[in-house]
């Protein structure tokens, strides 16, 4: 066990009950530790990715664009420009002589071809070094083409994924305030931090609409440039996901005074609380009544269906490793609802406050970890004799190699996990993996 944890990382791992809570986090990944984290560019790219009518041009060598081609299952109800991978594919001579001219030509070519409503131009490591003036090129093209062309300062090495979220929010904020807000209802919100994976934003929108709330902009699931331009007309920003879009909400609060609430749409408790919070905000008894009815109706359908899974999953041990800590909170509660025990929980980019909250809601003995890696995670899975691990694509083979069940909570999933329907899907998926007969054959169960 000890051999798998590098000394410099010991502070980033906490076992609840062992000692007073302390965890070190929010630091650069340790060289050679095989972090599960990505980079600044990745953070920006995932946040802006679902804006479907914008051109997303990656200014850099080919890798950054090609590894993010059609990478998220972020659905669009209309245009699908976001599913294409555009790059300036910088070559050696561009690195030597500068890439501005190539960027300009590529932008003009792609805007003429696709007629987007706006364009995001992502800076990558190399651009940060050769000093291309993205701002100037974008300004020029914007003027010539009459659409917003926004630089995203996402040089990979300038921090971690969270810095990328901020860069994305800064780019989007330049759109805000540019659209007409005259027809917007006083009972209106923006949905921030949901990415419409498998159509989740649509489901959440439908709940709000049933409550009588107008959704001005989904940021960024099934997102549109023109919606973002007028989103300052909404009465409230409802923010999911700890890091990704909070910066935008803060900027809007400062400039437009838009109040913010933080929610999660995952699991029954958090989903219901999200709807109630919005209803309470508008302080409208009729809306509150509608909300109660909605939740009652949904639960009446969901609860009996969940029973079967709860019975089968009772007492099983779960481990969680996800990007943002907010998702981890909801997962802890959701597993508990299914009668399961969470024995390990971690995130790539949690903050001190996030980890404090995790320590509060978990049981004694639970391992809490920041910015972990395959060797640590596999050691934790074994130590805790975990029945199911929930995480993303990079965590999946760790679980499978050890013969541990797995739930995909990743960017490319095809089933809704949010909302009431999502809770049922979650239970189904956990159940399908945990109770599969294939585990009878794996070495772990053949002692």
């Amino acid at each position: 066990m000890q051999t798998t944890i590098l000394e410099q990382r010991a502070e980033q791992i906490h076992r609840k009950g062992d000692a007073p809570f302390s965890i070190s986090c929010d630091k650069e990944s340790l060289a050679g530790a095989v972090s599960q984290r990505a980079c600044v560019f990745c953070g920006s790219r995932v946040v802006l990715y679902p804006i479907a009518d914008a051109l997303h041009l990656v200014h850099g060598p080919i890798g950054c664009a090609v590894y993010t081609w059609d990478i998220r299952g972020a659905l669009s109800s209309g245009p699908e420009l976001h599913r294409l991978s555009f790059s300036t594919d910088l070559q050696e001579k561009d690195v030597i002589f500068g890439g501005e001219e190539k960027l300009y030509k590529a932008l003009v070519e792609l805007i003429d071809r696709h007629q987007p409503k706006g364009a995001f131009v992502y800076s990558t490591c190399i651009v940060g070094l050769i000093g291309d003036d993205l701002e100037a090129v974008c300004r020029k093209v914007s003027k010539e083409k009459g659409i917003p062309v926004l630089p995203v300062q996402s040089e990979g090495f300038k921090g971690n994924k969270r810095a990328g979220y901020e860069a994305a929010c800064k780019a989007m904020f330049r759109l805000v305030g540019k659209g007409d807000t005259s027809s917007i209802s006083p009972h209106s919100i923006n949905i921030l931090g949901d990415f419409n994976l498998a159509g989740e934003t649509w489901l959440i929108r439908e709940y709000f609409e049933r409550m009588g709330v107008e959704v001005v902009a989904n940021i960024t699931g099934d997102g549109r440039v023109n919606d973002i331009k007028r989103c300052h007309g909404a009465a409230l920003n409802v923010v999911q996901c700890s890091g990704a879009t909070m910066d935008l909400a803060k900027m809007m609060k400062d400039k437009y005074g838009t109040p913010v609430i933080r929610v999660s749409y995952f699991g029954i408790e958090d989903m219901s609380e999200a709807l109630y919070e919005v209803a309470r905000f508008f302080n409208d008894p009729k809306m509150l009544e509608r909300t109660k009815n909605l939740i009652r109706e949904e639960l009446a359908v969901l609860t009996p269906r969940l029973e079967k899974y709860r019975g089968a999953l009772k007492g099983k041990r779960a481990a969680i490793y996800v990007g943002g800590a907010f998702k981890a909170f909801s997962l802890v509660k959701a597993f508990r609802l299914l009668g399961m025990k969470v024995v390990m929980v971690g995130s790539q980019t949690g903050t001190k406050e996030d980890y404090e909250e995790l320590e509060e809601i978990t049981d004694d003995g639970t391992i809490i970890v920041d910015d972990s890696n395959p060797l640590e995670l596999s050691a934790f899975l074994k130590e805790k004799d975990v029945d199911i691990f929930v995480g993303g694509v990079k965590e999946r083979p760790i679980a499978y190699k050890l013969g541990v069940a797995f739930c995909d909570h990743n960017h490319e999933r095809k089933e809704i996990l949010a909302g009431y329907r999502g809770m049922l899907n979650f239970a189904k998926e956990v159940h399908a993996s945990v109770t599969s007969p294939v585990w009878r054959f794996v070495p772990r169960r053949n002692k």
Partner: protein, 457 residues
């Protein structure tokens, strides 16, 4: 063939590239050496993105370490982080080899990786358990993942093969980027010829391993370092790579530096190209092709005959890595398919010649050859050419869906199906599997679209 589409490479921008970046190929090659860890000298994101991309194909863990450079390293140099990273990887993984590949970041800030590695050994001269280190320059702004792959293989040989090795009987086999299943096949062939072989790299177990009780620090398998050290004493080298620059390959290096005769040839795909491979093996071992391989060949001929009418004259678009495209074209052409477009994101300048060499006796008309193309261009040409099938990796799926043309998934990556690591491309056996896949796809297309829905072919 008349094509309205303008000449190649007319666009400034790239859309949906048909290539990956250079360090990616190096990481995969390093993964094929025993007890080795691939290490990227650059920002953390590169390693993570590549791991994700590789995992989605192989469904296997792949740990790629990174020097995780931050802003101040980009200004003051990445040396300290590289050394710290090497210390940490050595402490945790106990590797015998760390393969260090650079990235666009470290190439541009001018980090001297070979110099830093020398310094590293000097500074830690008191330590006895240091791994061997190999470094390869892989700036992502030049070449593709294939240059990275071959570059890593070359660096391994250049930096590790000992001089003045006593001559021995083993054969060096440099297969290029093929599947774990392909490597297992090659091992079987060499064993059947009764000849020891150094296959470099060997990802047959490291990227297609069993379910385990313990998470392996580094999965077992890979080319043994001991064998790599002795490559200079081998009887001969067989190197697959019809679009490689023949003067600069790893096999050439072994020939020039160590006097090991090189046989540079195409991937053994289809009867003609596999015959050529077996001929060289017969020559080098002095033995005839073993019975069971001869039997596989005989059965393949029989299968070609049984199925030839279903594929005869069908028109195919083939895309992907250049060497694989050459192999696939040779294979498809020999059982009667007419490749109409052979395209790659690679840009060797040798694709046309290589395809001509394997098809000129068979094809009445040469296909259109396109290097340096992305999927925007390939899809536009395909729309115009209206082929009967597409052959290549899974990134051709959007084009297949849009144009309603069946796609035969081969090569890397296969991200939308299981079993990419188990696809067999090589030898008579691989040809058999691919032939069945393609013939059945053609039969299915006709059956699905028939108003009758018949139950016999």
């Amino acid at each position: 063939m008349k094509i309205k589409t303008a000449p190649k490479n007319k666009f400034v921008s790239t859309t949906n590239a048909c290539k990956l970046c250079r360090p990616m190929g190096a990481a995969i090659a390093f993964r094929g050496v025993e007890n080795a860890v691939p290490f990227l000298h650059g920002s953390q994101g590169c390693a993570t993105y590549m791991r994700r991309y590789i995992i989605s194909h192989f469904n296997e863990p792949i740990d790629i370490a990174s020097s995780s450079l931050g802003e101040k390293n980009a200004v003051f140099g990445g040396g300290p982080n590289l050394k710290l990273g090497l210390d940490n990887v050595s402490a945790k993984y106990k590797p015998s080899l760390v393969g260090v590949a650079t990235t666009c970041l470290t190439e541009t800030i001018g980090d001297d990786a070979p110099g830093l590695i020398k310094e590293y050994f000097r500074e830690r001269s008191d330590k006895t358990d240091l791994p061997e280190l190999v470094n390869v320059s892989t700036p992502s702004y030049s070449g593709t993942h294939m240059e990275g792959f071959h570059g890593a293989v070359q660096s391994i040989v250049e930096q590790l093969a000992d001089e003045n090795v006593a001559p021995h009987d083993a054969i060096n086999l440099l297969p290029g980027f093929v599947s774990p299943s392909d490597i297992r096949y090659l091992k079987e062939v060499m064993a059947d010829f009764g000849r020891a072989a150094t296959i470099l790299p060997d990802i047959s177990e490291t990227l297609d391993g069993p379910a385990l009780r313990e998470y392996p620090l580094i999965p077992p398998g890979g080319t043994p370092l001991k064998q790599i050290h002795a490559m200079g004493g081998a009887k001969a080298t067989i190197e697959f790579g019809p679009t490689l620059d023949p003067n600069k390959t790893t096999g050439t290096l072994l020939e020039q530096k160590h006097g090991v005769k090189n046989h540079l040839m195409g991937l053994p795909m289809g009867i003609n190209e596999t015959d050529a491979f077996f001929r060289v093996l017969e020559l080098l071992t002095g033995k005839p092709t073993p019975e069971r391989h001869q039997a596989e060949r005989d059965r393949l001929v029989d299968a070609y005959v049984d199925g030839h009418k279903y594929v005869s004259g069908k028109r195919a678009v083939i895309y992907g890595e250049e060497d694989l495209v050459v192999g696939l074209t040779a294979l498809l052409a020999e059982f009667g398919i007419h490749p109409v477009l052979c395209a790659s994101g690679g840009n060797s300048g040798r694709l046309k010649e290589a395809i001509q060499a394997v098809t000129k006796d068979i094809l009445p008309e040469q296909p259109l050859i396109r290097e340096g193309h992305d999927f925007y261009e390939i899809a536009a040409l395909t729309e115009e050419l209206k082929p009967d099938l597409l052959v290549g990796h899974s990134k051709g799926y959007p084009m297949s869906r849009k144009l309603d043309i069946p796609i035969i998934r081969l090569g890397f990556p296969i991200h939308d199906r299981l079993g990419g690591q188990r696809l067999l491309h090589l030898g008579y056996r691989g040809a058999q599997q691919i032939f069945d896949l393609i013939a059945n796809a053609m039969i299915q297309k006709k059956q699905d679209r028939s108003s009758v829905g018949y139950s016999y072919m």
